[in-house]
Symmetry: C2
Subunit: 342 residues, 2 copies
């Protein structure tokens, strides 16, 4: 039986929605879910549900880190926050993985503090499944590292491939590097340097660079990018989607006949919305630490939390942590054989 | 009377659509438009229109640069291409500005070769009007420079403000720097360094950093970004828009009732499409050269070419080149007064 830890206080709708999602998932899966946070508030929410026979231990962690706080400072000042307390349960072997929909920066800081990087990992990488025309691919780094080196991106290619296999059930995932064009000479210095290194890499199904167009066409299973650009891509995508639907709504509302038509088409709009909604792929992961940490959207509600917990359990099942550690061992060995151990 | 030069062979639908757009605009404006390219093909297109009383001189430039050619090489090897020949008309005082919907890289190379940078300009910046919830803003660099320095971005802030005034009729435009978050410590090294410099800049209405969300909400009139990220933003926006409309279409087609509704709503979809279409704001500009060069989308058709020529004439009318040169003079003077002339 898998044991997950949930930051019950993380996200815009906590603890009501976090607890509700945990109750649903505990019932469906039979797994244990530790609920970490202000126990009085958590118990109050639990009392609203039928939890007989479910494994939902509550763990007290009174400090609260808000979405607007400076992560590094807040985590250090408030030691008894649900992130640090929850991650320690995993570190000490009480549980298998930790999930939070709270302040991403605080999760990154807590994760590094509690778990430390796997020996040989240059930097931990934040990744998320991202939708495309054909299904999903994995995109990373999406914001943990803003100024990156080529060798980090190469290592992330390997780690994200492991994640794509575990999360999306893809064998030997096609790994690409994001660039602004495929022609020779395109890309920035980092992209050009990384391209050369990736092409020479063993045991990596590297297929070259992709532009956003090819990424959205589903031509790669893993898209590697520096964390500044990756974060801008995520945020631009959300902003453009919102803008587009807004324009469409305005034009529809301006036309009575179109308005009637749109009412008929509403189920299609809703279905499209559901496909675009990130709840199914809302659990990103911080890869490269000695502990399994997944991260969800602050706006996740009951079903978003449910899906994130489910995805986290899937990663536990797939032994992603052990596979990551083994892969890093292999990479270090190859490196020392090449004589460029660092 | 304004004299414009059109690369009649540039773009996916040349010379038919380029010539047709030029005929339309010459008729409406009374301006002269030089049509540069393979004269036989151009004359053949002109014969299809009533051009009596219009000023549409044809200038022979037999070499063709395709969209797929490597720009730097092609421009140098094919000296008699419409870009170089057309720009020389501007350089030699025969015309006021040059427009092309052809290979952007080739326009950049030709522009630098024929006009050279204005003395004191670090790098020329490629910019375009970009739609937001409230109207339009100006985004640059969108791809001329992939690896940038902070002082380039600061200078671009000034140049793009001049462009926004001329093109969008905005007085003292609000200038922002694109970042992945507003909190302290967000951004990459380049953004953080540029932030500090911009905040200290005279005569610049700098309002701080914006995320893509605020950019799309129309919170800034000018958004400055390095050319790699800027290009990725443009390309991600196009890819996401296409993806979204695709998802919506699939979900509508899967439902007979929604299909009927969508038929009624079609005019609204069309109107939304027109608002998203870039033909109204399809003339980007390469700022910082000793010559006025505008660049359009390769897929521009008759009306796209028309609007681009109109926008180019507007920039001539606004004396954008003279204003740019004067601003650079002032900046250099301020710099030498601070004692850090370079």
């Amino acid at each position: 039986m898998i044991k997950l830890v949930l930051d019950a206080m993380g996200g815009d709708f906590s603890p009501a929605e976090t607890v509700a999602g945990a109750v649903d998932y505990a019932r469906d899966s039979g797994h244990t879910i530790f609920l970490v946070g202000q126990s009085a508030a958590i118990e109050e929410e639990l009392a609203k549900h039928d939890i007989s026979g479910l494994n939902l231990p509550v763990v007290e962690a009174p400090d609260i880190i808000s979405m607007s706080e400076k992560p590094a400072m807040a985590v250090r000042r408030k030691k008894n926050n649900p992130m640090v307390v929850g991650m320690k349960l995993v570190r000490d072997g009480e549980a298998d993985a930790f999930f939070s929909a709270g302040n991403t920066g605080a999760v990154l800081t807590s994760g590094h503090m509690v778990f430390r990087r796997i020996r040989g990992v240059h930097r931990a990488v934040l990744t998320t499944p991202f939708p495309n025309d054909k299904g999903l691919h994995v995109l990373g780094d999406i914001g943990a590292n803003t100024d990156c080196r080529a060798e980090w991106l190469v290592q992330w290619g390997h780690l994200l491939a492991i994640y794509a296999e575990a999360r999306l059930n893809i064998q030997s995932p096609r790994v690409a590097l994001l660039s602004n064009g495929e022609e020779e000479g395109k890309g920035n210095d980092l992209v050009r340097e990384t391209q050369a290194l990736m092409a020479a890499e063993k045991d990596l199904n590297y297929i070259g660079v992709v532009e956003p167009k090819e990424m959205m066409a589903g031509e790669a299973d893993v898209v590697v990018v520096d964390g500044f650009t990756g974060n801008v891509i995520i945020k631009t995508s959300e902003a453009i989607a919102k803008y587009l639907l807004n324009v469409l709504r305005q034009e529809i509302l301006a036309r009575p006949l179109a308005k009637a038509g749109a009412a008929l088409a509403k189920p299609a709009f809703k279905a499209a919305g559901a496909r675009l909604d990130d709840k199914e792929y809302g659990a990103g992961m911080l890869l490269g630490l000695n502990g399994l940490v997944t991260i969800g959207h602050g706006r996740a509600k009951r079903d978003g939390i449910y899906f994130a917990l489910k995805a986290t359990a899937q990663l536990v099942d797939a032994n992603i942590l052990q596979k990551t550690q083994a892969k890093i061992e292999t990479l270090m060995q190859q490196q020392s054989e090449r004589g460029d151990a660092s």
